[in-house]
């Protein structure tokens, strides 16, 4: 009995010492993922380029490339926006969630939402990547011309946003796997 009483606080201290480092790891990863997704959203949403081409000497045509012209880019912006909000929410929950005695569905919702956001961001990335590839190389079989030779800045910015989103996706993936493994260990 005395041994049991003596062992319990030590076990709790050991558990706390073991779980603290992984908690900080996940928070740092979430902060980096947040910055990555916010960068992707903002860069793609501000992606716009205007160019005026001279068709015949007195007549010039102004062409604009906006991100809204492509539904895949719109979905990309929306998906990364939702992912940024999710990251902020998760950071807040991480710091203030321990204050509540009744955790309720907190653990379940964190894991489930993480997975849903990973699926969302990955689909946004996939669509935007292949649209950008189509814009860069065109498709000779379908007779779709490339647009990146005329709108270089637009393509570069879009490419940068997509790369940033991939980095965010990688961090989100690591966070999801870490959370699931942590839950498996706890059980």
């Amino acid at each position: 009995m005395a041994l049991e009483n003596g062992q319990k606080p030590e076990d709790k201290a050991e558990l706390a010492a073991v779980t603290k480092p992984t908690d900080w790891t996940i928070v740092v990863l979430r902060v980096v993922a947040f910055f990555a997704t916010v960068t992707a959203t903002v860069v793609m949403a501000s992606n716009k380029e205007t160019k005026s081409l001279v068709v015949a000497p007195p007549i010039s045509v102004t062409l604009t490339a906006k991100f809204q012209h492509n539904p895949a880019n719109v979905y990309f912006v929306i998906a990364n926006g939702i992912a940024s909000l999710h990251n902020v929410f998760m950071i807040v929950v991480h710091f203030f969630g321990d204050k509540f005695k009744d955790k309720g569905l907190q653990l379940v919702m964190v894991a489930v939402l993480d997975m849903m956001i990973v699926a969302l961001v990955s689909s946004g990335d996939g669509a935007a990547t292949f649209m950008a590839e189509l814009g860069k190389k065109g498709n000779s079989h379908a007779r779709w011309n490339k647009i990146c030779d005329k709108f270089e800045k637009y393509c570069d910015r879009g490419g940068g946003a997509i790369i940033s989103s991939y980095i965010g996706l990688l961090f989100l993936l690591v966070i999801t796997v870490l959370s699931i493994i942590k839950l498996l260990k706890r059980n």
């Binding site: 490339a65 906006k66 012209h69 492509n70 539904p71 895949a72 979905y75 569905l105 653990l107 379940v108 894991a111 489930v112 997975m115 990973v118 699926a119 990955s122 689909s123 946004g124 990335d125 996939g126 669509a127 935007a128 990547t129 292949f130 649209m131 590839e133 189509l134 814009g135 498709n139 079989h141 379908a142 007779r143 779709w144 011309n145 647009i147 996706l169 993936l173 999801t176 796997v177 699931i180 493994i181 839950l183 498996l184 059980n187």
Partner: protein, 173 residues
């Protein structure tokens, strides 16, 4: 003692059977998607010029076929894993990766398919589904099948979380 253990073993067998059936359906869905995409092919001739479309022509569709093939092979191998193995934790993590793969490939193929069906007037891309309707239907079928596989993988992930977290507190500690 005996009724409890038999009830528990019945629950275990039901759980195992459920996951096996779901995984089998997912393997079938992704296999169907990969095969249907790879065999999509149409050739038409307009004013003497022949116009041929294959899935090869679009890198998004190639990625779609490869991703679904990888998901099929993975799902098939996982079916043979014994239930007491410690590798199930790795399977949960790999399930997340495969879901990401399937999701991004489905989304990419859908985006390119949308350009093929509706065109993009700002970029000067004309829709091609009017000329090759059978190819478009083929691709649509592959997309639907892959979507079913993706939904099943998402359900499997949610089920893994349910088993791990036990939100309804069914297990007695």
């Amino acid at each position: 003692m005996h009724p409890n253990s038999s009830a528990e073993s019945m629950a275990k067998i039901t759980k195992r059977l459920c996951t096996l059936v779901l995984r089998l359906m997912a393997v079938a869905a992704t296999l169907l998607a990969a095969i249907v995409m790879v065999t999509s092919h149409q050739r038409t001739s307009n004013f003497g010029i022949s116009f041929e479309v294959k899935y090869n022509h679009t890198p998004a569709f190639q990625y779609f076929a490869i991703a679904n093939a990888i998901a099929t092979v993975y799902g098939f191998l996982v079916l043979f894993l014994p239930s007491e193995s410690q590798l199930w934790r790795l399977v949960v993590a790999l399930d997340v990766v495969i879901t990401v793969l399937l999701s991004s490939s489905f989304s990419a193929a859908l985006a390119i398919g949308d350009v093929g069906k509706h065109g993009n007037s700002y970029a000067g891309w004309l829709p091609i589904c009017g000329q090759v309707p059978k190819y478009c239907d083929h691709v649509k079928a592959a997309l639907i099948s892959s979507f079913v596989g993706l939904i099943i993988y998402l359900l499997l992930l949610l089920y893994a979380i349910h088993t791990v977290l036990d939100p309804l507190l069914l297990k007695k500690t």
